[in-house]
């Protein structure tokens, strides 16, 4: 059956956001007093992920980055404390 491109994009966008939040979210600073909005942007997280996997670091989503995100993997974060 033909896929619906815009639906694919929607699914991919959700996958990317979920992936970055799960594996590249910066852990809260234990010495931080009170709440602080996590100001790191999606692009910065994406750059961190691309750098980790040795991909072209652009901060933009490309096919190679998306393909890497779709690979089965371990659920422990790649950055920050995994405790």
């Amino acid at each position: 059956l033909p896929t619906h491109p815009e639906k694919d994009n929607e699914g991919d966008a959700k996958l990317v956001q979920n992936y970055l939040n799960k594996f590249y979210a910066v852990e809260p600073d234990p010495n931080q007093l009170g709440w602080k909005i996590n100001s790191e942007s999606g692009s910065e997280k994406l750059q961190k992920m691309q750098q980790f996997f040795g991909l072209k670091v652009t901060g933009k989503l490309d096919n190679e980055t998306l393909e890497m995100m779709k690979k089965p993997r371990c659920g422990v974060p790649d950055v920050g404390l995994y405790g």
Binding site: K22, F23, F52, F53, G54, M68, K71, P72, R73, C74, G75, V76, P77, D78, L81, Y82, G83
Partner: protein
């Protein structure tokens, strides 16, 4: 990166429940072997208990499971997770039951995933090195291969030190498959000028015509950016080697991987349905390369850099007597050598007939 490890070398583990995908014996064995991966390179000793709280509690669960703050996501995606050394959840390892757990290369190999998660349970975080067991993405390697890379070993030994030097107490680190073993087989074989290079798992052997002693090396020493487990290889007409794995291929010239690789095998003219190449050989006399996939072969013209029309065709039609799937193939002095498992067949392409059958490791001084 490493976290503080356990403050003791004797650790306990408990298998809390089982996956229906595998027999209990196979799960027990996979978990035991996964701990052994780490115990052979450290002073650590792992003892199994069947009741109560162990340092490392091992369980299978789906989606939201027990008190675990992390949830699983159904088939694929996240396969398992673990927690660093500590009390409570510390050291615990959870496997996603929605995955297909196996002892082989299909689904996800429980031994390999468990060995990775136990690395976390001992204090290791993820490695950026694609060859490392602690690399986050799943990659199957034959369980007969020792799965730890130098990066994994230096990481874990930076926390716990090396195993005590009493060889009669500890087995040495398992090494590569024995080249003279009766069942020795190869993943891929290629020539490079006058030498023949045999590839299997993470290793390659270089055989020179006038030197009976093969030279063994890690593939990653030559080509760091090429993933292990190469499935096909051949030398083209431009003094280069093409290496194939899954739907990707690299071109190497000497030690250099050409820029822009790996590329998809579709760029060679294979249709999307073709997912991997079993073996390949370039016929120096005709400048045509034959790709063997299953029981068929495709023909590629090196001059025009294009796949010829009218393929694939049954291999046995062009190569009578070669009826099994081809693991590896290379050409020397005009003759082709086809490999399947522990056997090889010497084939005369002009007479179109098998000349003789030999053992796969007949090229080595066994």
């Amino acid at each position: 990166f490493t976290l503080p490890g356990w403050k003791k070398n004797k650790l306990t583990y408990r298998i809390v429940n089982y996956t229906p995908d595998m027999s209990k014996e196979d799960v027990d064995k996979a978990i035991e072997e996964a701990f052994k991966v780490w115990s052979v390179v450290t002073p650590l000793i792992f003892t199994r208990i069947h009741k109560g709280i162990a340092d490392i509690m091992i369980a299978f669960g789906t989606r939201v499971h027990g008190h675990c703050p992390r949830y699983f996501d159904g088939p694929l995606g996240v396969l398992a997770h673990a927690f660093p050394p500590g009390n409570g959840l510390g050291g615990d390892v959870h496997f996603d039951e929605d995955e297909d757990w196996t002892t082989g290369s299909s689904g996800f190999n429980l031994f390999l995933v468990a060995a990775h998660e136990f690395g976390h349970a001992l204090g290791l975080s993820h490695s950026k090195d694609q060859r490392a067991l602690m690399f986050p993405n799943y990659a199957y390697i034959s369980p007969s291969e020792f799965p730890l890379s130098p990066d994994d070993i230096s990481g874990i030994q930076s926390i716990y030190g090396s195993p005590p030097n009493a060889p009669d107490e500890r087995p040495t680190t398992p090494t590569s498959p024995k080249i003279c073993g009766s069942q020795m087989s190869f993943d891929a074989i290629t020539t490079l000028r006058r030498e023949v290079i045999f590839l299997k798992g993470r290793h390659l052997w270089r055989v020179y015509p006038d030197n009976p002693e093969a030279e063994r090396e890690l593939i990653s020493v030559f080509w760091p950016n090429v993933t292990p487990g190469i499935e096909a290889a051949y030398e083209n007409t431009k003094d280069q080697i093409l290496l194939f794995k899954g739907n990707k291929f690299w071109i190497v010239s000497g030690y250099q991987v050409l820029l822009g690789y790996p590329k998809s095998i579709n760029t060679l003219g294979f249709p999307k349905g073709v997912k991997k190449v079993d073996a390949a050989v370039c016929n120096k006399n005709t400048g045509k390369t034959d790709f063997f996939i299953g029981d068929k072969y495709w023909r590629f013209d090196e001059n025009s850099q294009s796949m010829e029309k009218g393929y694939p065709r049954p291999t046995v039609n062009e190569f009578p007597g070669i009826s099994q799937r081809v693991d590896a193939v290379f050409q020397q002095k005009g003759l082709f050598y086809f490999f399947h498992g522990s056997k090889q067949w010497e084939f005369d392409p002009l007479a179109k007939k098998v000349i003789r059958e030999m053992k796969s490791n007949s090229w080595f001084n066994c």
